[in-house]
Symmetry: C3
Subunit: 467 residues, 3 copies
């Protein structure tokens, strides 16, 4: 296999970045809250305080989400013994590309100013771009170690495109609520990645088996990713929720749900081993399943114990997924899932969609109040006659749309990625940073301690052989 | 010793999580600011902007505190060479359990709605739950490496319970101010942990001596914990302070106090070695002592130079604690304190209580203004006649309550933990992740570089022996 | 060389910390928003909500900046194989000292209350102190591994002093805008450090060549620094921007600019190697250049595509700097730049100044609105007649002032640092933590796996030698 990407990677990066500049030049402008005309907007709309600028409602959550995308996802994938550079570095690359393309795609579908044909962006668009990229980073987890950075960029280009269309259908056309993206982000991203991994299946991947595991330090690095994802997930699920009680409630629900996930993950992980030892893979991943599964319903009145129940179940199911489902998928369906995104994103995403549909269908004025019901589900204008149970039906339809986009889109993109032009690694070079990175030589690590002895021994042995 | 926890750990996790779900179902609901009826509440209370929702005052601080609890405490304890999985992982487990139980305990004592018998929770309750758990994580530091995860869960269950009662007595009954928890969190948690460690004293712990130290990488990992604690401590001390100037002032004071601690820690650490070399243990821990010691007084008008003085002294005392007091405690009182929590939490917590009592007793209308004095000390209703010097007396009483709860509670819980049913490690297996974790095999780390030489040498030597 | 700092370092730390306490006692008080008299201030100024306290506008950004200073800069410099303790630890020390001195120096020049002679501090002062220290930490990068902690403290003392004067001239006297500090922080700090490095040039530094590189783990640690700098740079550039649209716009611009930098950095890095492999040095550093280069113009109406163009160019130039300029500087100008701060800070800082001057000169009422133009450039009072093109001229003058202060100041301070009294390391001991830190012994790392074999071999060989 030719893994020389010296021309391919720079050409793709430059072409795309120049395209971004041109398209942003044509289409993208500041929205009214980030434009220097804001003081005039304040007077026109009788806004008396800068605190009403959406920036102050959303910026702290945005920064938390930003950390999840770059440190959370990036470090979570550093668990492999010799693939940490790629995990963090490629995550960085594709997220940086993806957010630009997402601003355009989501802008065309969602925030195009009809009078000027311009996309007007503010802090909420930045959050949505980060969300969109999350879908592609999830998909990255399924193919981690088995593709080239050029393939990842192609995957991201199509992934963001599909995401924006899917999101438009689900959120705008069907008017489904999915603030934390159980369906739109996690189910879509999960099945998109799994389908691509299926299409790119390598029957001889066992040739890299010696690199497909962790070492002590890499597992600790991965916990940095886990914890930042876990801690900031309340921000993720509340970042674009309704101002006030919506954001507030989404945080409480996610906080509780994640806490419950940790306990049941530990329980099942311990149960799964003969002597009750814990498995780092479970702790790194399944503890997060609750956050995924509350993505849709976080802003609803699920009540605190409802959030705990969701977390309780998802910790169990996700950990069992690592024990039973992942081996099954690999053996029987030829789906090799490096990070186990099926257990962390795809399956909990579906659960999240279902939880959302049920809680939406059972919503009522007693629990929400008249105005609360309208605000939470956005049932204004021509939607004001939609009943909660109808909303529940639409929510369920949203799950299907996300699934369909993930699987069909993944199959097509997987086909494109099979073309022998992308510089992907040979079966025996998977999970190895050496293929795409200048890696410092390890034998220089402790020049003072180990190597001298080794060299000395070596030298002695050669001398002895000569004797 | 039987360290098989395959039944114990899952049973405890499941039982407790199910109990949490039931108790939350019976008791816990959203408060008015996180309930969907908030739009109606706004109208009733003539609130014109969502920015007045407590969420926007407190959420950024909450997230910082959350990082301190999970990354700060977790990584600070990764310094041991082979106990990083346990440090981060058990910290994650007991904090996740503890915050749920804390919401209940603190709710019953503090925010029970008398008309409905429900606990109403909002963002401030989440912060308080994180605070409560901090006490237990401090105690964890004293016994790090010497107990099983089951023991840690038991310790946390009782720790949270004791904390909630102690907090109720200090903050509600005595009406003592302690926004950053010098007494309530640090002194209590410190002495609770130290007493438990005393009761669990292992005379033959030296059998694990080879694992009771750091390696280069583990010290760097621990600095992640140190820095996130240090950076976000201003948020910790201000998170539940009075809106406006209270939060603002608590941040400034803590920021200054911590900066001073760093300089004196470095000075004493350098002085303590023959050639002036710095000791990572001091830098990792004593630099934080200023934050602890300003926990009570952070929101008071201690003035910027007052904050510097507190930090100056605490850096010195805490570092000297590592040099002189810890060895003394171990040798003479049989208190083995793995992380040195006496120097970082217990002693600075007492200092913090004293600083708080003095600054409260000397508060006056000139410095605070009439309304400022009332706001800062909450002297309204039937407390409006309490003078600053009386308040100072109550503050001093608070120290005693925290101490008493820590020591008496620790003795009782330590007794419970001595029962031979908890799966704790043998003396020679302390500080070793292998006991409770599936640890990746190290000899596979660099399959291409070191092992071949080693194997080759080994092989040669065997051949030579045969000769 | 005598690297014993047992007296020097403690004396310097104690002297300075005591000086700080005295000076703070004389000069520093809380400002009106952090003083307990705030409730009265609210009434006097007809402020109806605590949300108007500047704390709530600025605190989330402050905490992000704080993370950049301590974790960002600290971990970015951990890339060397045996200098991680020093990177993180000395960064911690000099930042903690620097912020105190900065509050005083910036206070005397900027926020002295004329009636009382007191410096009144609030959250904005804390941000500015962090900014000021950033300049010194940049300079640290140039001399990393080649100086003693005492020299670093001296460098910081003078660096902060020079910074405060330079900042006063640029921001106050010339009324130049530089919210993210392209000129004031990055160009100044960069040239200050490079000039010092020139003066301290060591012709025999190659004697430490074996330590002047990274190992696998240290490169991953450095990515923690890179990512936290990258993610929070939007907060850096917006932290002291104008409330409302100013902060909002600065975030959007910086976010976009940084994303573009990543793509062009990857492209050039890949192009620079025969087989297209990526170089961690480039990814760790040049991806950040866009943030530096938008420091001045982030709050201006550069428009989203303008931000992308700046990032595009800076990613290219910065990476090329590592490939071509750094070797040139070392070989021809005898400027050895350990971290490559010329490519990450100095040069992008100059570019940022130029971008700022051009965008200021072309500002107009059509783009900004009448009030927007006044707010963005602060053209009130006696400046109300200053035209945008005049402002552009002043902006250009600001670049020259920053450069002059950096180079002249660096030359003088470099001369002071050459005195043979500071305990700096010998040429063969550079980049080595052992000189100033108690470093844990490495051969104890894996007591169960490698050492026994090594010891066994060693033992065998000795026996064989005896034969």
């Amino acid at each position: 296999m030719n893994t020389n990407i010296r021309i391919k990677l720079p050409v793709v990066c430059f072409t795309w970045q120049i395209a971004m500049i041109i398209l942003f030049g044509v289409f993208v402008r500041y929205d009214s809250e980030s434009d220097a005309h804001w003081p005039e907007t304040m007077i026109q709309n009788n806004i008396t305080s800068n605190t009403e600028n959406d920036f102050y409602y959303r910026y702290p959550s945005f920064q938390d989400v930003h950390v999840m995308i770059f440190v959370g996802f990036g470090f979570l994938m550093t668990f492999l013994k010799r693939y940490s550079f790629s995990a963090v570095g490629f995550n960085f690359l594709i997220a940086s590309f993806g957010i630009q393309w997402a601003l355009l795609m989501q802008g065309w579908f969602g925030s195009l100013d009809p009078s000027t044909g311009k996309i007007l962006i503010g802090v909420e668009n930045l959050i949505n771009a980060d969300f969109c990229v999350a879908g592609c980073l999830i998909a990255f987890g399924a193919v981690l170690g088995k593709v080239s950075p050029v393939q990842l960029l192609v995957m991201t280009l199509f992934g963001v495109t599909l995401f924006a269309v899917e999101e438009y259908i689900i959120l705008e056309l069907l008017h489904v609520k999915d603030a934390g993206g159980s369906m739109v982000i996690h189910a879509f991203g999960g099945y998109y990645g799994l389908t691509i991994s299926r299409v790119l299946y390598r029957p001889r991947i066992h040739q890299s088996k010696h690199l497909q595991g962790s070492v002590y330090q890499s597992d600790v690095f991965a916990m940095i990713g886990t914890l930042f994802l876990w801690m900031f997930w309340p921000s993720f699920n509340s970042a674009i929720a309704y101002h006030g009680d919506g954001q507030h409630r989404a945080v409480i629900n996610t906080y509780l749900c994640l806490a419950a996930s940790v306990l049941t993950t530990v329980a099942i992980s311990s149960l799964s081993q003969k002597t009750g030892k814990l498995d780092m893979v479970h702790i790194q991943n399944s503890t997060l399943a609750g956050g995924v599964a509350l993505g849709t319903a976080a802003e609803f009145m699920v009540s605190p114990y409802g959030a705990l129940i969701v977390g309780f179940l998802c910790g169990i199911l996700s950990t069992m997924g690592y024990i039973f489902i992942s081996p099954f998928l690999e053996k029987n369906l030829k789906i090799h899932d490096t990070c186990g995104i099926h257990n962390l994103h795809a399956m909990p995403g579906l659960i999240g969609g279902i939880v959302g549909a049920i809680t939406a269908a059972t919503a009522n004025e007693l629990d929400y109040g008249k105005q609360g019901l309208i605000n939470t589900f956005g049932l204004t204008g021509k939607l004001q006659s939609r009943s909660p149970s109808t909303q529940g039906g639409y929510q369920a339809a949203g799950i299907c749309v996300a699934l369909a986009f993930g699987i069909v889109g993944g199959a097509i993109v997987g086909g494109i990625l099979r073309l022998p032009i992308w510089g992907d690694p040979a079966d025996e070079n998977c999970y190895d940073d050496e293929v795409y990175w200048e890696v410092p030589e390890e034998d220089e690590e402790n020049p003072d301690s180990i190597p001298p002895i080794l060299e000395y021994n070596n030298h002695m042995i050669h001398k002895q052989q000569e004797m």
